[in-house]
Assembly symmetry: C2
Homo-oligomer: 302 residues x 2
Amino acid sequence: MSVLVVGSVAFDALETPFGKVERTLGGAATYLSVAASYFVPVRLVGVVGEDFSARDAAIFRGRRIDTRGLERVAGKTFFWAGRYSEDMNQRVTLATELNVFADFNPKLPEAYRDSRFIFLANIHPALQESVVKQVNGRPKVVALDTMNHWIERTPGELRQTLKLVDILVINDEEARQLSGKHNLLHAAQVIFRLGPKILVIKRGEFGAVLMRGKDVFTVPGFPLHDVRDPTGAGDCFAGGFMGALAQAGRVTDASLRAAMVYGSVMGRFAVERFGLDRLRQLKPREVKQRARRFYGLTRFRL
Amino acid sequence: MSVLVVGSVAFDALETPFGKVERTLGGAATYLSVAASYFVPVRLVGVVGEDFSARDAAIFRGRRIDTRGLERVAGKTFFWAGRYSEDMNQRVTLATELNVFADFNPKLPEAYRDSRFIFLANIHPALQESVVKQVNGRPKVVALDTMNHWIERTPGELRQTLKLVDILVINDEEARQLSGKHNLLHAAQVIFRLGPKILVIKRGEFGAVLMRGKDVFTVPGFPLHDVRDPTGAGDCFAGGFMGALAQAGRVTDASLRAAMVYGSVMGRFAVERFGLDRLRQLKPREVKQRARRFYGLTRFRL
């Protein structure tokens, strides 16, 4: 079962206490696709400019990532520059140049229209909706990420889109903002009424929480000796989660829990190096090994 | 196996978004003792003033808490007033009146001197040291909590005391401050060189982390519908942890992990009501039931 991923492909300039890069491939859809491709084939939908070279595209080759949906248009690729605080829990955006991403209007190649597992990364909710509408028949799982920008500025469109969504994958703050509830159990109940029946809350180094009905599952963040660059961690979590779920092929309590562990694994690998550097070298064997270490991290007996 | 607890007994004035109390029994040693008493008999060492009535002492009666070490002296009991922020993650101290606690000099009754499990709650490190020195022979476990105040102002005395400590129970921020390391794996290695061979990091709603050598165990915070007052959560965690460990009677990987779960259980019960209100009514059966719910919260299969 493949995963359809739609979202941003970008160049990032990153600065953390551990270093600086002037221009590295990034964007939610890039991180998501690479992370998900460890589990299943991926179909990528996005847009890049003329400055996106064959060398940039190398990250997708040799992985099971179909780039027929990666449109190349006149202009420059989306560019983002950010700097992280000393403890890396805060970041300031230094530049956002939307460029070709400003007119992004995702079009699914014919070959993508039978997709059954769809991840809508953080873009305008109307575009997210249009992607779901282009799929033939009823997908098995539609998962969506969004951010404060859309929650504040396009609440109507977001609510419209959420009706089509099975799994909402956001962070604590976004869950609180979207629901108007500080307590996350209360927030989940509000969100379940908007459409998604499953809520996944990403918590960075603290791992993630899965809520479904009254059921709650938590997964810790893998403790790391080196955290160099938090960029893409949430998207890699989402990619690992969605990839593992599609690999399982069905949504059960067991497949969701395993997917949470794989999400946490991929999210934490991402932060060990700058940009996609860790994922470039990551071996499937390492993914499995680290996932198994979550047993030791969480097992107890009363 | 009983637990010896030394620390503050206080009256608190508390204000949270969910209410306000003018004067309620509190103090680290109080929370710790009550929480630990669900698992083993407790021996309490502390000091109160003349305003501490038989009614106040009622919380200790009917539980297995020996108060022969609770000194009553002329003057007023330690008083603390604090207000929590809207999200309850911040608090401001409105008043600290040390009163009789200013001259606290813990003295172990003869009957306490054979104690084998000792919890030194947050007080001056020289006093913590004096307690260990009053114990006959070598205790099985000395656990210690401290805070930024002592880390900053009495670093020499704290280091001296830490040499006698097996388990350090602090929060993220304190671990970082004490070690000078932001990364908690690095912080643990620094702390292990100071004496403690086990580090327990309390993370509030995010649960807690246990580090011992290279081994790491995480326990989530139990998700709650109602969080009314965070006061005493960390001390109840410590009490549950230490009580369960003493009940096991020995320090093994398995007993430490189970103790972490019981710590998390007790810490989260505490915040459901103001002050000690939830613990006053809490039944041993509820403690066991909630601990078992941590299986569902954490179990997965790859």
